[in-house]
């Protein structure tokens, strides 16, 4: 795909909204995994989906990227309807799944380049962009080793870079820092923060309070598949008159986000 064709696709989004969800429901038999969820995500913002394990965050993301069909409701990504225009959406997005989906017999660099080729990135650009991404997370040295020799944290770093190699407009990061040590997690936060400066829209699921507070412009707090509150981290804390998002969650549900982890 040429740059001009890609620009045309971006015209699918007519206003400042990158993602819009309308009355979204997902039922697995009699379990309501997502229940009447509605929200909008602005272009160029980092949007956090915060909630405990099993809250429905991953199910919501999977519906946004077309891996799960909603029971009802509509999703628009980049102005395109997920049900009707999924192929166009795939040109606009990068996805970092919760579990590192990486070919273990390839090196980190080969995994990134493979996904660049799947996004039809020009060969010369691909090499430059791969080097830039690896340098940005201090991974250049280890990038030629086979992925099967990587630690869990290293796999997650490559997992994220694979999502970025196609230079997506909208990035879906599902629990991107799980399994990373504190130093790498901080580094990754800086990196995710820098994506915003490049105009990317980032949809981030997390159950780390600190992560949601540090990175998100807006946070949707989800529990049992329902949206329980939405706002800026600061706005939510002020609204509920507490010092952090954990206490916001505690105040609304009577439970802690980290319970059961």
């Amino acid at each position: 795909m040429t740059i001009s064709e890609k620009s045309d696709l971006r015209k699918g989004s007519s206003d400042n909204i990158a993602v819009e969800i309308q009355n979204l429901n997902k039922h697995f038999d009699d379990v309501k995994a997502v229940n009447d969820l509605s929200f909008k995500i602005n272009k160029g913002e980092i949007f956090g989906l915060l909630g405990p394990n099993g809250a429905g965050k991953t199910t919501t993301i999977k519906m946004m990227i077309g891996l799960l069909k909603p029971t009802s409701g509509e999703i628009y990504v980049g102005g395109y309807n997920v049900r009707k225009d999924l192929n166009k959406i795939k040109e606009l997005i990068g996805v970092c799944p919760q579990h590192a989906a990486i070919y273990k017999f390839l090196s980190g660099r080969e995994n990134i380049e493979l996904y660049g080729n799947l996004h039809a990135v020009d060969k010369k650009v691909l090499k430059e962009r791969t080097n830039e991404l690896l340098e940005a997370v201090d991974f250049t040295k280890q990038s030629k080793r086979k992925a099967k020799k990587y630690s869990g944290g290293m796999l997650r770093q490559i997992n994220m870079l694979m999502a970025l190699i196609g230079d997506p407009d909208i990035l879906f990061l599902d629990e991107p820092t799980v399994g990373m040590d504190a130093r790498v997690r901080r580094k990754t936060w800086e990196f995710i923060g820098s994506l915003k400066e490049k105009g990317k829209t980032v949809v981030l699921t997390t159950h780390y309070i600190e992560e949601a507070e540090a990175l998100s412009d807006h946070v949707a707090i989800i529990d049992f598949g329902e949206l329980i509150d939405l706002g800026t981290p600061k706005g939510l804390m002020e609204k509920h008159n507490v010092e952090d998002l954990e206490k916001v969650f505690l105040k609304i549900t009577g439970r802690r986000i980290t319970e059961g982890l």
């Binding site: 891996l67 795939k90 799944p97 070919y103 017999f105 799947l118």
Partner: protein, 249 residues
Amino acid sequence: MNLQRTMALLKLELKKMIRDPTFLFSLILLPVILTLAFGLAMSGTSTTSNPDISIFEFMVPGIYGFTSVYIVMTVAMAFTDYRKEGLLDRMNTTPTTFGEFIGSHIITNVLISLLQVAIITVLALIFGFQIRSAGFFLAFVFIGFLSISSVGFGLISATFAKSSGAAVGVSMIFFMPQMLFGTWIPMSDATQVVAMFFPIYYSTNSIQMIFSGVPLTEITIWINLVVLAIYSIAIVIVGTLIFKRFGKA
């Protein structure tokens, strides 16, 4: 079909074959071992029907077929592993089409099969195997189509198997009958009828005819090729549709 994507997927699968010891053994070492074992054991004994041809020479088309239908297992294992590790889901979020993905697997496995035929042939020459006609090269065409059917059966197996261990078991449904009815085991008239339900029969039967010196004007060879081609393409289409519908998640 995007060429850059298809080539990238093709390279990926070839790297997997080379770097994964399981696949390297199944696809390269197994044919070597089989050819050496049968060559040592059978190359000195002539067939009863033609004293110029050793039993080993008669078995060579069966060895080609055996290694090609073994692909059923490797494809079934690969797809169940990819699914379990979330690689299929991830691939599904890129602009890659299912056709490009399956197409790359078909091309890879056809190439591997042709390489296997070449390896088996070269080793067989050491044990007295003779190339008696220019029609020998048709063996590559028959085995190419047979490997396509194996990819199809592999996809069907992967649809129903939930793990790579189960994939081996499920793929036996397609592997065992083909091994019994289409390799080197002599068949009665009754078993020959059963064998006609499996693609390997058309491959082994025709290659044996060609290797025995039957002229290429023999219509059975060409009928077998057409049947095998239609059968293989139909199976890979059915396998792709079933896997796409029921096996991806």
